[in-house]
């Protein structure tokens, strides 16, 4: 089983670093192949909004950079982990720059699904999505937006399942480990 960990954290964020190491350890301990990408260090150009990945080179972004590698790995994964500081309730710009480039995994065509119009997926298999947000302190309003965003993403990516969790900077190591393990179990990574 393959997992892709998209690390959208900022440099020097101790809680995110600790969470990432825990996720990697837990997954590898259960025999998963893990690819972790530190997005802040990657040159990923913004999506141009040109739609050429639909109309000129179907399934391939015209910008050939690290964003292309992210898309390839996303498609090949059984689990995609989004690790991010909860940023105004959403994702950090580092994570978002990678996700914006995933448009080629969808087709330009639409269907109605779950009461809403959505894009049809280009590929048969989509990874499950597990999102872990990091907040300096509890913030119910931001957490609610984050939860809704992850749910919407999972629907629009056609993910078979999604799990969501938030850790706070003041959590001790034991609390964080418990939260990460619980999240991984919900994501189907086994107890």
């Amino acid at each position: 089983m393959k997992a892709l960990l998209l690390d959208g954290s900022r440099a020097g964020d101790a809680a995110s670093t600790q969470a990432r190491e825990l996720i990697e350890q837990e997954l590898r301990g259960k025999g998963w192949e893990v690819s972790s990408l530190t997005l802040r260090d990657m040159e990923i150009a913004p999506c141009l909004g040109c739609f050429k990945c639909w109309t000129h080179t179907p399934g391939i972004c015209v910008t050939d950079d690290a964003g292309t590698a992210v898309v390839k790995q996303f498609i090949a994964s059984d689990l995609a982990v989004f690790l991010t500081p909860v940023t105004f309730g959403g994702y950090s710009s580092a994570l978002k720059k990678a996700l914006d480039r995933t448009l080629p995994v969808m087709l330009p065509f639409f269907r109605k699904f779950g009461g809403e119009v959505r894009h049809i997926q280009r590929y048969d298999n989509q990874p499950r999505i597990m999102a872990l947000g990091v907040l300096p302190r509890p913030d119910p309003a931001a957490e609610q937006i984050f939860r809704t965003l992850v749910g919407r993403n999972a629907g629009n990516f056609g993910a078979p399942d999604r799990t969501f969790g938030v850790i706070t900077g003041n959590m001790d190591a034991g609390g964080m480990k418990k939260e990460v393990r619980s999240l991984l179990v919900k994501a189907g990574v086994g107890p």
């Binding site: 999506c47 909004g49 399934g59 978002k96 119009v117 959505r118 937006i145 809704t148």
Partner: protein
């Protein structure tokens, strides 16, 4: 009396050719008729350098009203505009704003349901709270891409009439220092292309009008990365 300024932050990668520019420019134009001085900035080039970010922050600090206009990308805001918001938020924690600055968000999505933009509006609202702006409301436009496609809103015909009316109402309220009224939000929420018409247009006419190379028609559903990750 000092002239008030309205700053449009265009978060679309397509800049002045975007539907975000169409919607934002129309609102700025209406506010100019109410006595505001309008200015617009394309965010994406500015976030590439420290100088660009500083210029962006200086323009935001000087504005009396800030409008963020951007398309819906992956249920949220395009990454370059989030990068600008991160910078502004951090900076304003250190250099507190010297005046009350209302913030407005315009979201245009390619889907026919305005509810799909609700999360992006919520993110803008949270940004306003964290960065010390006064939240003045958000307008979500559904299927704007199909109906407007970067044309000036005044030339976008009858399909954009509710969008124009919603922005007229928003401008009237904002010029009086009031938040965007519910009627403007309701008008904005009416899809520019009705849901029943959206699927045939989206699944046939839209891409046929854009795909000029017929060999691409046969490749539209290709899976170039299957088995390659």
């Amino acid at each position: 009396m000092r002239e008030k300024t309205v700053l449009l932050l265009n978060g679309s990668p397509r800049g002045s050719k975007s539907t975000s520019a169409s919607l934002g420019s129309y609102l700025v134009g209406r506010l100019e008729k109410q006595g505001f001085r309008g200015k617009d900035l394309h965010v994406q080039p500015l976030v590439r350098s420290p100088d660009g970010l500083q210029r962006l922050a200086a323009e935001v600090d000087a504005a009396d009203l800030v409008i963020c206009a951007a398309p819906l990308y992956i249920d949220s805001i395009p990454a370059p505009l989030i990068a600008a918001m991160e910078y502004l938020s951090e900076r304003r924690k250190v250099e507190k704003p010297r005046k009350e600055q209302p913030l407005v968000a315009l979201v245009n999505s390619g889907f026919p349901e305005p509810s799909q933009s609700a999360t992006a509006i919520a993110i803008y609202r949270q940004f306003a709270a964290e960065a010390g702006f006064a939240w003045a409301g958000g307008l979500a436009y559904a299927s704007g891409q199909a109906a407007v496609d970067g044309r000036p809103l005044g030339k976008a015909g009858f399909m954009a009439k509710n969008a124009r009316r919603s922005l007229d109402l928003a401008a009237a309220a904002l010029s009086e220092g009031k938040p965007i009224p519910g009627e403007a939000r309701s008008l904005a929420a009416r899809p520019m292309v009705p849901v029943w018409m959206f699927l045939p247009i989206g699944n046939l006419l839209w891409w046929r009008s854009r795909v000029k190379d017929r060999s691409v028609w046969r490749a539209m559903k290709d899976r170039p990365y299957e088995g390659k990750g």
